[in-house]
C-alpha cells in the first residue's frame, strides 16, 4: 500500500494528526517510523489545531495570528500540517524540492500559501517576529505572533539581541517555542528558559510530544511579558 492511499484528494478537506505521517511520506518516500521522529511535528500540529487563529480563508487578514517558522530546515512536518489544514493541496507534497515545486527544503513565503516567513538561514525568524509584534501593537491589532526556533539555532547572536529587546519592550503578543532536542553544540547550561527569564520573559518547559501540555503552555499569556515555551523532544540519534 502506498502512503497516500485513502487520503482525501482536494484542498478543502481537513485532515487529522494521524494523517501527518502519510503526508510526510509523500515528500520523503520514507516509512512512517522515520518521519514520525521529526522534532517539530507535535508542536506544529498543536499550534495549527488548537492555538493559532488562522485558516486558509483568513491567511491575508491583518488580524490573523502569525506563525514564523524560524528553523526552516526539515520543513516536511510544516508542509504536512499546512496540507492537512487546507493551505496547500496534498498532491503538491509529492513534488517536494523539485524544480517546478513551490515546496523547497526551506520554505518561501512568496511561493507557499500560509507560510509567513521565508527561512533557511538561522537566527532571522525571532528578530522578524519582534518587528511584527511591534507593528501589530502600533496598529492596535491584538493578534499573536508565535515563532518556532531550534535549540541549536539559538546559538545565533541575532536571537540574543531579540530576546533582550522583546523583554524590555514588554511584547506580550510574542510567544517563542524552542524545540529542544539538545542539538546546540555547547548546550545551554542552566537551561534555555533561564536565558529568557533574566530578560523578563515568562517561561515554561514542557514535553514536546505531549499535546495537552503543549496546548496549556501555548495558550498561556502573561500581560506585559513575552512568553517562551521550551518543548523538549528526544535527541536525534
Amino acid at each position: 500500500m502506498t502512503p497516500s492511499q485513502g487520503l482525501p484528494r482536494s484542498t478543502g478537506d481537513t485532515l487529522g494528526y494521524h494523517d501527518l505521517n502519510d503526508l510526510m511520506s509523500l515528500m520523503t518516500g520514507d516509512e512512517k517510523h522515520t518521519v514520525s521522529a521529526t522534532s517539530t511535528l507535535d508542536v506544529l500540529w498543536v499550534l495549527y489545531d488548537r492555538i493559532l487563529d488562522v485558516t486558509p480563508v483568513s491567511a491575508d487578514d491583518p488580524w490573523r495570528d502569525r506563525f514564523y517558522l524560524s528553523k526552516g530546515h526539515g520543513p516536511m512536518a510544516y508542509y504536512a500540517v499546512l496540507a492537512a489544514r487546507g493551505f496547500i493541496p496534498v498532491e503538491e507534497l509529492r513534488g517536494f524540492g523539485s524544480f517546478d515545486s513551490r515546496l523547497g527544503h526551506h520554505p518561501d513565503r512568496v511561493l507557499v500559501p500560509g507560510v509567513e516567513i521565508s527561512s533557511g538561514s538561522l537566527g532571522h525568524g525571532l528578530p522578524l517576529a519582534v518587528g511584527t509584534a511591534l507593528g501589530l501593537r502600533a496598529q492596535g491589532i491584538g493578534s499573536r505572533v508565535v515563532c518556532l526556533v531550534g535549540d541549536g539555532e539559538l546559538d545565533e547572536g541575532s536571537n540574543a539581541e531579540a530576546i533582550a529587546y522583546a523583554g524590555a519592550a514588554a511584547l506580550d503578543a510574542l510567544t517563542v517555542v524552542i524545540v529542544d532536542n539538545d542539538s546546540a553544540t555547547l548546550g545551554w547550561p542552566g537551561g534555555i528558559e533561564q536565558r529568557f527569564a533574566v530578560e523578563g520573559w515568562h517561561g515554561v518547559r514542557v514535553d514536546g510530544r505531549n499535546h495537552a501540555e503543549l496546548e496549556l503552555a501555548l495558550k498561556q499569556r502573561t500581560s506585559g511579558r513575552p512568553s517562551v515555551v521550551v518543548a523538549e523532544v528526544e535527541k536525534e540519534s
Binding site: S121, P127, V130, T132, Q139, S158
Partner: protein, 302 residues
Amino acid sequence: MTTDMRTRFAATASQLLDEDLSTAVVLADISAQLFTEAAERHPERVVNVGIREQLLVSVGAGLALSGMRPIVHTFNAFLVERAFEQVKLDFGHQDVGGVLVSVGGSYDWPAGGRTHMGPEDVALIDTLPDWSVHVPGHPDEAETLLRHAVAGSGRAYLRLSSQQNASPLPVRAGRFSVVRRGSAATVIAVGPLLDPVLEATRGLELTVLYATTVTPFDGPTLRATLAKPDVVLVEPYLAGTSSRSVSTALEAIPHRVLSLGVRSVEARRYGEPDDHAQLHGLDARGLRARIGDFLAEGPLTS
C-alpha cells in the same frame, strides 16, 4: 531652512510619522536624540532597539511584514555591512519594502578612523535585486528623495552625508539633472561631488550630469545627452561602483569610461573630510588632473 542632511532627515521623518500612520522609524541609538519629540508623540512608531544592528534591520522588516512602512537608520557601515544578510534576506528575500537611511558617508568623520568609514555601502546594496539607491547632495534634495522613497512601496537606500553642495538642484527621483551641455565628454557627478566637479571642469567643453538616484541608473538621459562616447563617473564612494551601469547603458556603442571615486585602500589616516577628498583625488584639483588626462588620451587608434 539651512541645515545638514541628518538633521533634515530627522525633521522630515518626524513629519512623515505625523502625516502617515503606517510609517515607523527604527533606530539603533544613532541619531536617537534627534527623534526625542517624535518619540513622545508616537511612542509605538519610534523604535530604538539599542546598539543592536542585526535587530535594527530585522525589526524594520518585521514591521513591514505587519503592513507598516519602516524607515531604518544608522551609520552606513553598521546598517549595510554589519547587517548585510538581514538586508538581503529580511527585506529582499521576504519581499517586503522599506527605506534604509544612512549617515556617515565615506569619510564624514575621518578622525573616527576606518571603523566609521563606509565607502563600500552602495556597491554592496547594488549586488541585491530591486533596491533603489539615492545619494542626495543637499538637505533639500535629501528631503525630496526621502519623501519620494517613503511614499513608495519598494526597497530604497538613502545615503546621507555631511558633505554637501552649496545649493540644491530641483532633483527628480530616478532621473539625472542636466547641469550643462558640452561637445566633448560627459561627466556624471554623484551627490555631494557636484560642486567639486563643476569647479574642476570650469572652462571645459563638457556635459555635466548630476545624479542623485544611481540605481536604477538613468541610461536614457545619458544616451540622449551624449555628445561623444567618453564618460567620466565621479562617485563619493568606492570608485567604479556604478561603472557597470554606465557600460550597460552604453552597451550598443564603443565607449570609454573613467571611474573616479574613493580608492579601495586602508589609508590609516585621520584628519578632516577635505584631507580625504584630496587623498582620493576627489578635490577639484585632483579631479581636474584626472579628467584632463582622460580627455587628452582619447581613444586608441589602430
